[in-house]
Symmetry: C2
Subunit: 146 residues, 2 copies
């Protein structure tokens, strides 16, 4: 049971961007800070911008900033918006690749769905601001040129 690397990187991108506040963060900075590829960061930034969680500007002096205050960004919403696969088991696939013969009769489908909802509800108890409360320790690790 794990989240995709995409979601993981999205959460990390939001953390660094939030730490930098009003100063625009570049894709290079995110990639360097976490030791991940620029291509990954670019895709993450594209998706987070579409969700309104980041505001991106191009060109010289461009970069990313939060698209809304950190205390309004629910962790559950980030995961909902970046996790492309919420098919906990085969019966949740709606792409025609699920072949379980008891699909439709099996109560596990709903039970697993309820558990995924509980997972997301728990994440909704926290905002990006809750994570930033640990700002000094995070800055020490990431040392952004803030």
């Amino acid at each position: 049971m794990q989240l995709s690397q995409f979601t993981d990187f999205a959460l990390r991108t939001l953390i660094l961007t939030a730490l930098n506040g009003q100063r625009r963060t570049t894709i290079d900075e995110v990639a360097t800070a976490y030791g991940i590829s620029k291509e990954h960061v670019r895709k993450v930034v594209h998706q987070l911008s579409k969700l309104g969680l980041l505001e991106a500007t191009r060109g010289r002096g461009g970069g990313i900033r939060l698209g809304m205050p950190a205390d309004r960004i629910l962790i559950g919403d980030v995961v909902r918006g970046t996790e492309t696969n919420f098919a906990i088991a085969e019966c949740h696939r709606h792409d025609g690749t699920g072949h379980c013969p008891i699909d439709g009769a099996c109560r596990l489908t709903g039970i697993l769905r309820g558990a995924a909802d509980a997972f997301l509800s728990e994440l909704d108890r926290y905002t990006l601001a809750d994570i930033l409360a640990n700002r000094p320790a995070l800055l020490m690790r990431l040392a952004p040129a803030a």
Copy 2:
């Protein structure tokens, strides 16, 4: 966010075995009913037996039965016992392959762990017997030779 195929097959194996009651179910039967490989079923049965959830006997007339009453088998416990990877994000890996630089300072680690616990707690509200309550519909789909 998904469970492993191993956990999925483990839950299905328990369902068919429970439907067959005291009659021993064979690995062939499970494989045929769900259209999955015998090798997968064999590994699942081995693990479920180790957990005490199945009781397996070898040889002619052998096969599997539940190792305890269905109403004592919590779905959460099945998942805990079969899901090998509970590393929701990189920071939960304890095999040395996690490299996130904010690991140890980041509150997300605990928040994600809490969400996984909420997922499992929700599953603990149900037992295998709750799924069998839909017995006629399940039998119609699986048509075990009971």
